[in-house]
């Protein structure tokens, strides 16, 4: 939610930039001293390079199942990222993200089974959900707060019967299969490696683009719209336009994740976009960390790994165990998994008996949070006023 960081009256100067939400509380101690080794440009470049090399080599050395799991994490990380744009950054509750994933998946399956060019399929799988998102957003964004949530609930609820009825295009309740992401002949790659590379490249590009978006002027505008629409209006930022924009971007990203879904899972049916999955995506976003790029990856990992983990523990208690894990994470880390390093460093600083302004009561809620944080921000604003 990044509430205090968006608050113009905040006492912490470094937090006025909303884009720094993920690092406000940790950046202060380094101020004034010479940057440590890992802050120097060459070290950062090396870090990027290392990450790139790891990602490039990883699919080659991992087992088939690890690759498939990582690819699935990638798919849902992208879906959660889309949700993060509209919910985490722009603060509009959306319960319809799975619908856009479903539309993207159906467009991909339909295009592939009609042997369209795969680039065209990808473009359509991105643009059509985006268009659907734009149309819905133009209506929904006129409403405020939970009313938007109610409108977006309609998407998966309409989507499932729609997919069943349009059986000429969707295969009805039997769904559509499409195997098109087989490793090309001569590449020497296994299918699972090839698919993971596709997910890494497309997903990586989406993540980088989104990162630039939310750290730039649009991200700042989103944060202001999220913080206080009246303030946004007074600054010449149209809350309506930015809400529609955020929603449309979220649905575009949802469409991309639908395409990746077909790359990895290769099958879609009306069950794909059932309402329950929308809630699971939302939970994954909150668990990972709202308004956090890294949190989106963690959310995707949570979405995929927790059912696997609970299946290992006891296959007949999966839902119960998932609920327990969800509650535990939210109690211990209300800001999501992405806030873990911050919580740890803060703990260390506190134990150092050096309680500066950084440890003021508002700092913890600079952490991105769930829907409840919206209420918190309300009270905080009043508190500062």
């Amino acid at each position: 939610m990044a509430t205090s960081s968006t608050n113009p009256s905040s006492t912490n100067p470094s937090s006025t930039n909303p884009a720094s939400a993920t690092s406000v509380s940790t950046s202060s101690p380094a101020t004034g001293s010479a940057p440590p080794l890992w802050q120097r440009p060459w070290a950062r470049a090396a870090g990027w390079l290392l990450l790139l090399v790891v990602l490039a080599v990883l699919p080659l050395v991992m087992t088939e199942f690890v690759n498939e799991t990582l690819a699935r994490i990638g798919v849902f990380a992208v879906a959660v990222l889309g949700l993060n744009v509209v919910m985490g950054y722009a603060g509009q509750v959306s319960l319809g993200q799975i619908f856009f994933l479903g539309v993207g998946a159906y467009v991909t399956a339909y295009g592939v089974s009609n042997e369209w060019n795969i680039v065209l399929v990808f473009v359509l799988a991105t643009l059509l959900p985006g268009l659907a998102g734009l149309v819905v957003a133009m209506a929904a964004a006129r409403l405020g707060g939970l009313a938007i949530a109610m409108v977006t609930i309609a998407l998966p609820i309409v989507g499932v019967p729609l997919a069943k009825r349009l059986s000429d295009y969707t295969g009805g309740s039997q769904g559509l299969s499409a195997r098109f992401a087989e490793a090309p002949e001569g590449s020497g790659l296994f299918d699972d490696q090839w698919q993971l590379y596709i997910v890494l490249v497309i997903g990586g590009i989406v993540f980088l683009l989104t990162r630039s978006l939310v750290r730039g002027k649009y991200g700042r505008a989103f944060a202001i719209v999220k913080g206080n629409e009246n303030v946004a209006s007074s600054m010449g930022i149209s809350p309506y336009r930015y809400k529609v924009l955020a929603f449309t971007i979220a649905s575009l990203i949802g469409g991309v994740s639908g395409f990746l879904y077909m790359v990895v899972i290769q099958y879609t049916s009306p069950e794909t976009m059932s309402f329950g999955h929308s809630i699971e995506l939302l939970a994954a976003m909150v668990i990972g960390g709202a308004a956090s790029i890294v949190g989106s990856i963690l959310g995707g990992a949570f979405y995929v790994l927790v059912p696997q983990l609970t299946n290992q523990v006891d296959a007949s208690l999966t839902t119960l165990l998932q609920g327990v894990i969800l509650l535990v994470v939210l109690f211990v880390l209300p800001g999501g998994l992405a806030s873990l390093p911050r919580v740890l460093t803060r703990g260390r600083r506190r134990s150092g008996a050096d309680r500066g302004p950084a440890a003021s009561p508002t700092t913890p809620s600079s952490t991105p949070g769930s829907g409840t944080a919206a209420e918190e921000s309300e009270t905080e604003r009043q508190g500062h006023a």
């Binding site: 499932v160 099958y267 329950g276 296959a315």
Partner: protein, 420 residues
């Protein structure tokens, strides 16, 4: 600049830890485990000289958890009892015990595919899982990996088409089988009947209607007077029932998969004082859950189809099969209550059918298993009703394609030979 670097470090930590978690969570299997690498004739994964492992992905949570739990319980109970006796002698002369690895997919196709990916290198064959989308999700992958998807519980005909599904075989009758059985009974009755049809507007309803129509085609005594559909998401079919009542049909063929709708349809017909004979699909004709609340006794006849003995029926209380089945279900199936869904019985029969295939497979390979599986004919599995049998040799048909028509007697069902 600080902040850029910070989040990058966080990213690094996160990626590293995520990887670490994944890697440790999945154990280390080497690349040779990838499918297609095994040498000809070598044992397939999941089978040793003393054990064979079967995988199941089925809904154990969510709204279909009831039947889903049954699909695991029955087959676990069957092989649990066999293992306690020392195991099963396979066609290659070795005696093996059977292990079951069951995972929950919550009726989510994506999770079903994930479960399959997780199991495919550890299990010899996948079996018994419930659900059309959840089985379809990994059908193509199973064909590509050459992993048997044997005796699964879906009425979707694609799994019984050898051409399209070389590594698959459905167990339960396809929708067409059930509709056909009732159509044949009606056509053979000799008397003139007017039939109204109400069906779910998807592959389920269409399958039933298709089977029914093919059976009554050319029968002069049957006239279809009205045919309506409803959507699976509808909450009421009162309008359809009212319209069908006006057709004055004396038989209604009701291909409906939703229990609450069947109950309300029965009640609505009574309100309208329309008393036709009903045909109901096997999964929505339970005496306790459907006919009693729906007031089924008010109608001249309610017909359904079955191939398994109902353990709750007093007629089978002393039946040898039923007694053995109920005690094994309690002891080995982790299912202490009376089985609430026929899937428990079906799953038990899946176990018996798999045993037949195991006894006939000459090599410990998946190829040999599929060959043996497709060669079972006229096998009367335990709990099967007279006049039904397992026959896997017919292309286009599931393992069980023979069903008997039964009539509601106020408490349970009796097999009938003719439409009265």
């Amino acid at each position: 600049m600080n902040r850029h670097f910070r989040s990058r470090k966080t990213l690094g930590i996160v990626v590293a830890s995520a990887l670490a978690v994944t890697v440790t969570g999945c154990g280390n299997r080497d690349d040779a485990g990838r499918s297609g690498d095994a040498a000809e004739g070598a044992p397939s994964p999941g089978i040793t000289d003393t054990t064979v492992t079967l995988g199941i992905t089925t809904p154990l949570s969510g709204s279909t958890a009831g039947p889903g739990t049954c699909t695991v319980a029955g087959v676990s109970a069957y092989f649990g009892a066999k293992n306690a006796e020392g195991g099963i002698e396979f066609g290659d002369g070795k005696t093996r015990t059977v292990e079951i690895e069951a995972l929950d997919d919550g009726y989510d196709p994506q999770q079903a595919k994930a479960n399959y990916d997780q199991l495919k290198d550890d299990v010899f064959a996948m079996t018994a899982g419930l659900g059309t989308p959840t089985n379809r999700a990994w059908r193509d992958a199973a064909i590509a990996d050459e992993v048997p998807q044997a005796l699964i519980m879906t009425g979707d005909p694609i799994f019984s088409d050898t051409e399209e599904s070389p590594w698959q075989l459905g167990f339960v009758p396809i929708y067409q089988n059930e509709g056909e059985a009732f159509g044949e009974l009606l056509a053979a009755s000799g008397a003139d009947h007017k039939v109204a049809i109400l069906s779910q507007n998807d592959d389920y309803g269409e399958g039933y209607v298709e089977g029914f129509k093919s059976a009554v085609e050319g029968a002069d005594n049957i006239e279809i007077v009205d045919e309506l559909t409803y959507e699976a998401t509808d909450t009421s079919v009162d309008a359809q029932i009212t319209e069908l009542a006006a057709s004055e049909a004396d038989v209604i063929f009701n291909a409906m998969s939703l229990v609450p709708l069947v109950v309300s349809a029965l009640q609505k017909a009574q309100q309208l004082n329309w008393k036709p004979s009903w045909f109901l699909p096997s999964n929505t004709s339970s005496p306790g859950a459907v006919l009693e609340p729906g007031g089924g006794a008010a109608f001249p006849g309610i017909y359904s189809v079955a191939f398994a003995k109902a353990p709750a029926s007093p007629a089978f209380a002393q039946d040898e099969d039923v007694v053995a089945y109920l005690s094994a279900l309690k002891e080995f199936g982790n299912y202490p209550d009376a089985p609430a869904f026929p899937h428990c019985q079906w799953s038990w029969m899946v176990g018996a059918t798999l045993e037949q295939a195991f006894q006939n497979m000459e090599e410990p390979t998946r190829d040999s298993f599929m060959e043996a599986l497709r060669g079972i004919e006229g096998f009367q599995a335990p709990l099967m009703l007279p006049d039904t049998s397992v026959d896997t040799t017919q292309d286009g048909q599931p393992a069980v394609s023979s069903v008997v028509v039964q009539k509601y007697n106020g408490r349970g069902y009796d097999t009938v030979e003719a439409f009265e």
